[in-house]
Amino acid sequence: MKRLSLILFLSLISLGIFAQDDLMNLVNQSTPKEINYTTATFKSTRIMNGHSIERMPHGQLDVRISHRFGTLNSGGYNFFGLDQSNIHLGLEYGITNWLMVGVGRSEFEKTFDGFAKFSILRQSTGAKNMPVSVSVLTSVALKTLKFTDQTRTNYFTSRLAYVGQILVARKINEAFSVQLTPSYVHRNLVATELDPNDIFALGAGARVKLTKRVSLNGEYYYIANPKTYLSQQVYNPLSVGFDIETGGHVFQLFFTNSLGMTEKQFIGGTTGQWKKGDIHFGFNISRVFTLVKHQKPANY
């Protein structure tokens, strides 16, 4: 009889446990296996000078103000470059969650630029496994500096340069992300006939998260063409610096040997050399505004 009541008691207990487990099982079975997309591979849509795979989501407007100061080796008289500054202003918008567009204006060579960036693949785990994120960037630069030779026929198309990039990135872990960026630049008009119209380059970038809001970034572009043109000697652009995030803003502070802030300018147009101290201090400020708010589901 004692044993029986024990059995009865145990079975009731097990019933209680069973009921709780049952609810939990039911919940777990019903929770859909979602695609877990990797977010924040980089903090900003730029690694430093060049684009990262990050894009503006739908309805978000990014207002960007970028500066590159003069070179550090210009000495104390020029306050190590801070007396001079080059500005790039940009307005960039996410049309959909996979397409962002932007327009900008650089002081350097009085250049207007426009780009479209397509997110082709997104790194994910869960229901869909994708090891890398891939984006494609196309951009056009329009140089509006007056033509130096006014006597010859100057075409509008001579002002244009085109850029194509494939951006492949992987967030390896919470703190470390890398990106490779094969790039192609076509310049319609170059200074001399011996200067290349087409430039091929491979970019590489990485970020290491130091704290939740600060990361150390590096970016390098290897230019495959001979870098000695008839008109000028160019170098591979290298940039090193920090991303600092404060609520609505991202500040990027860094050192770079490139004065140009768009692809066309820093790929095949970087004339500064790190080892000679042709290093520019630079910053990008990004402020994101929400133009289209997400809709709350109608049934609640």
Binding site: L4, I7, L15, L26, V288, T290
Partner: protein
């Protein structure tokens, strides 16, 4: 002896079969923060919830990445800096209606209930007790509740620079429209 054993076995089975369960896969949990500087709001309408009306037990599970904000940047910060949703993808509530006797699940109407349970957010579990309503409607049961939580209770670190922009007590709204689980 044998008969009694059989009886207890039967009793278990009967009780088990009688456990009437209701569930939803589209439950809503939202939270709201109001400060003079900024209003922040997030919605998640993919919450899975289960209610057992025989015991009054309920379990809710929400995926953190399913909370959506007006501002994409806020959503990124929420996942990246505060909830660490890559490491901790879910929040779970396991609770029980303490005054189950005052709810007549056979009669349509609205009943006030008190729910006690364990709320797990950011891998930290706290006991909470909250008031809510159970509404018995034809073909289902609606449950709703409003309560406040303090982010620091769940070891969610909020840095000084933004502390003034985030309410110390976040208002949480829960709305579930349960339907019977087909057995």
């Amino acid at each position: 002896m044998k008969r009694l054993f059989l009886f207890s076995l039967l009793l278990t089975l009967v009780l088990g079969a009688n456990a009437q369960k209701f569930m939803t896969k589209n439950g809503y949990i939202g939270f709201f923060s109001h400060t003079p500087m900024e209003d922040i709001k997030a919605d998640n309408n993919q919450v899975v919830g289960v209610l057992d009306i025989s015991s009054g037990e309920m379990v809710y599970q929400a995926l953190i990445k399913s909370f959506h904000f007006d501002r994409a940047l806020m959503e990124e910060h929420f996942n990246e800096n505060y909830m660490e949703s890559d490491k901790i993808p879910k929040s779970i509530f396991k609770g029980k209606i303490t005054n189950l006797a005052s709810v007549d699940f056979t009669k349509p109407g609205t009943y006030d209930v008190t729910v006690d349970g364990d709320l797990t957010i950011h891998d930290v579990t706290n006991k909470i007790s909250t008031k809510g309503t159970i509404e018995v409607v034809s073909g289902g049961i609606n449950a709703s509740s409003k309560f406040n939580i303090v982010p620091e209770d769940y070891k969610i670190a909020i840095p000084g620079v933004v502390r003034e922009k985030i309410d110390k007590n976040l208002g949480v709204t829960v709305t579930m429209k349960f339907t019977p689980v087909a057995k």
